[in-house]
Structures are given as structure tokens and as C-alpha cells.
């Protein structure tokens, strides 16, 4: 069942599809919030708040792109978070390297450490970008939205989105080591 059909079912009173939508898009929203705020722990709450707002206003939902709509809510939730907490550049990376808590050794441990370092570099570099450029990069590179969809989410024109993407990417590349991110 596609998103449009699920929304139609919800309008007919079948609330269980609200949970289906949450399960389908939770990971995407979480990752977006994580890259936006740099705080994995807070991002669970922010993702939760995103879906709570969606549920609150689902009666008036009239959009065609559900994922874009959810990301727009997530974007506003993150902006509210920054506004309240004012922690744009000082959020510590407070998640464990291995969320499952398992102990691993040998090559697997090295790979996990390298991966964690890589993620840390990206997180720090993203947090150094202006919020508007960061939003565009995360929406495009993490959530897979097109420039047109990003324009619809952020309220900016396509040329503005492309400009922010170009400038943000150039800044990000300058901050990252090329051999870690090209050609993957």
C-alpha cells in the first residue's frame, strides 16, 4: 500500500496506519535529526515529536509527498530544538560506538572504530555549516530528496537549493579528507 492509500485509509478512520507510517519513516527522520542536531540521544525525542505533530495535524494533510512532509516537520522540530537549547556547535557525541552493547574484537572492532571516526568527522563538519546549507545537504544526501522536493520542504526556490547545495558541499569537502568520502 503506498503512502496516498494509507492516508486515505487514515481519513476513513483506520488509525493503525498512523503506526505503519511511523515504522516506515522513523529511521529516515531519526537520521535527519541526528545530522541536523549532532545529538543521537536527542534525535530519538525529536523523531518522536515529528510523528506526534504529524498525528496531531493529520486531519488537514493535503500534500502529495508524505516523506517530504514528514521531513519538513522534522526540520521545524530541529529548528525549535536549536532555538530552545542553543547548542548548535557544542553538542557532544553521546552515543556509544556500538549501540547494541556487544563487545567485539579483532578486525571487526577496527572497522567499527574507523566507521565511528568517519561518522564523527562528518557530524562535526556538518555542524560547522550554516543551518540552511546543512539542511539541504542532509535532505539530499541522507534522505534522498530531489532539489524540487527540497525546495518544497524548505520553502526555497530550486536555484536557491542548488546554490546552497553547491556552497555547502564545497565547504564540507574542504573540512573532510577526500580519500574518506570520494568514490564510495
Amino acid at each position: 500500500m503506498d503512502d496516498g492509500q494509507m492516508i486515505e485509509q487514515i481519513r476513513q478512520g483506520r488509525k493503525e496506519y498512523l503506526n505503519t507510517i511511523a515504522e516506515k519513516y522513523y529511521d529516515d527522520i531519526y537520521r535527519f535529526c541526528c545530522y541536523q542536531t549532532g545529538s543521537p540521544d536527542q534525535s530519538y525525542d525529536l523523531a518522536q515529536e515529528t510523528f506526534l505533530r504529524f498525528i496531531r495535524y493529520v486531519d488537514h494533510y493535503r500534500h502529495k509527498n508524505l516523506k517530504g512532509y514528514l521531513l519538513a516537520i522534522a526540520m521545524n522540530v530541529c529548528r525549535d530544538y536549536f532555538h530552545c537549547e542553543k547548542k548548535r556547535r557544542t553538542v557532544p557525541w553521546d552515543s556509544p560506538l556500538n549501540p547494541e552493547g556487544e563487545s567485539v574484537g579483532g578486525d571487526a572492532a577496527s572497522e567499527k572504530v574507523l566507521e565511528a571516526e568517519r561518522i564523527e568527522k562528518v557530524r562535526e563538519a556538518l555542524l560547522c555549516l550554516p543551518p540552511m546549507q546543512r539542511e539541504v545537504i542532509v535532505l539530499h544526501c541522507c534522505s534522498g530528496l530531489t532539489y524540487r522536493e527540497i525546495g518544497a520542504v524548505t520553502g526555497a526556490g530550486i536555484s536557491t537549493v542548488k546554490s546552497r547545495m553547491k556552497q555547502g558541499t564545497e565547504k564540507l569537502k574542504r573540512m573532510l579528507r577526500k580519500e574518506d568520502f570520494y568514490g564510495e
Binding site: 486531519d59 552515543s95 561518522i119 547545495m165 568520502f181
Partner: protein, 250 residues
Amino acid sequence: MGNDKIKLPELSVDPIKKKESLYKIQEAAAQKRLVYCPSWLEILKSQLAYISRGYWIGQGAFAGVGILVFLLLGNLSREDVPYLFYASVLAASIGIVTVMELGRSQSCQMGELEESCYFNLGQLWGIKMVLSGSINVAILTGVIGGLSRKTDFGILALCLYILVPFVLSHGCYLLLLFWGRNMGKKWPQITAAVFMGLAAMIPGAFPGVYRQIYLPVWGGVFLIGVVLLALELHSLFKKLSVGGEKICWS
């Protein structure tokens, strides 16, 4: 972006924390009271269903009469048939269907019943008037088109000759309908329609009024009729919105 596209590493999601979040979302979903908000098209379709069968029969009858009369007249010679005469009577009496439909609301407690979850009485009447006006104008457009081929009058002149009885009769019908409590009954309305039809025949008794020199007079009468009709409608809808007097007929 080509080869320079940045690929952000995929972050892992803690399944326990995710499950806790989803649980709270499920609680919110369970408590949510869904309100169905239909689109404007759905609302209009449902309102059309509440319009009486008699209305559609009446409109169909007038459309049929218009077609029949002019097809019949088309077989006679031009000099023998007062085309404008019959067209004016049709234009003057066609509004009776709309008035009778609106008059249903004046039956005992019908006004309250007709108000639905989406529209109040004023809005319902607005929809019925717009619908009726569109259908009547379409019928009259066909009549004018037929007349233009059978007479020597220009389109503008024909429009005025037909629309003047149309507008004036509607003004009288509305005035009658909302003047008093018992004017919503059918017999006063039918009597009014007959009277308006007879009144529309008067210009036909004086063929000279259809000369081009009198077109400005027709235009002036048309404008006055439109202004009076607009004032009537404004007064009517204002009374519906600020007080219940017009609803509490019963």
C-alpha cells in the same frame, strides 16, 4: 554534482530506543480522534443529492419546452411567429422552479433540517441559486442562439430582450418568497409565475419597443433590475446571517 557528490554514512538506530519512541507514537495514535474533512467537491456533490427530484423535473421541463417551441416555430414562416413573445414568457416564468425549491425551506422545520454539518441555510440557498442561475442562463443562451437565426435582431439586443423579463421576474419571485411566512406555499408562487408570464407579454403587444432606438431603455431597465436583485439578495443573506427570523417560520 557528479563524482564529487558527498555520501553521508548511514547511522545505526538503537532498536530499544526506537521501540520506546514508537510505543509513545502508538499511544498518541490511539488517542487521536480523527475528523474527516471532505474536499469542496465532495461537499458540493452531497448537496446536489439533497435537491428535490421536482426541481430537476421542472428544469428539464422548461428546457424541453424551450427546445420544443422553437423547433415547432422553426417550421413556420418568420412573419407569422412572434418569437420574442414566447421567449419572453419563457424567460419570465423559468425562475419559478428555483423559487419553489427555495420555498421548501419554509415548510415546518425544514430550514433546520436542511442545514447540514457543512453548510448553513444561507450557504445552501447560495448553492441552489448559483446552480439554478447557471442552468437557466444555459437554457436562455440556447434560446437566444435560436432566436438570432430566426430574427433580424443582433445578439446584444436579443440578450437584453430576454434578460430583462428574466431579471425582473426573479426580483419579484424573491420579494414574494421572503415577504411573509406563508408565501413559501406553492399556489402564491405559481400565481406569481403566471402573472409574470402575462406581464412579459406586454412588450409583445407593442412591437415598436423592440426597435433599436429603445435599446438604451432596455439596457437601463436591465441595470436597474440587476441592482434591485442584488440589493434583495444582500438583504436576504444578511437577515439569515444575523438572526433566525427567516428560519423560524414554523
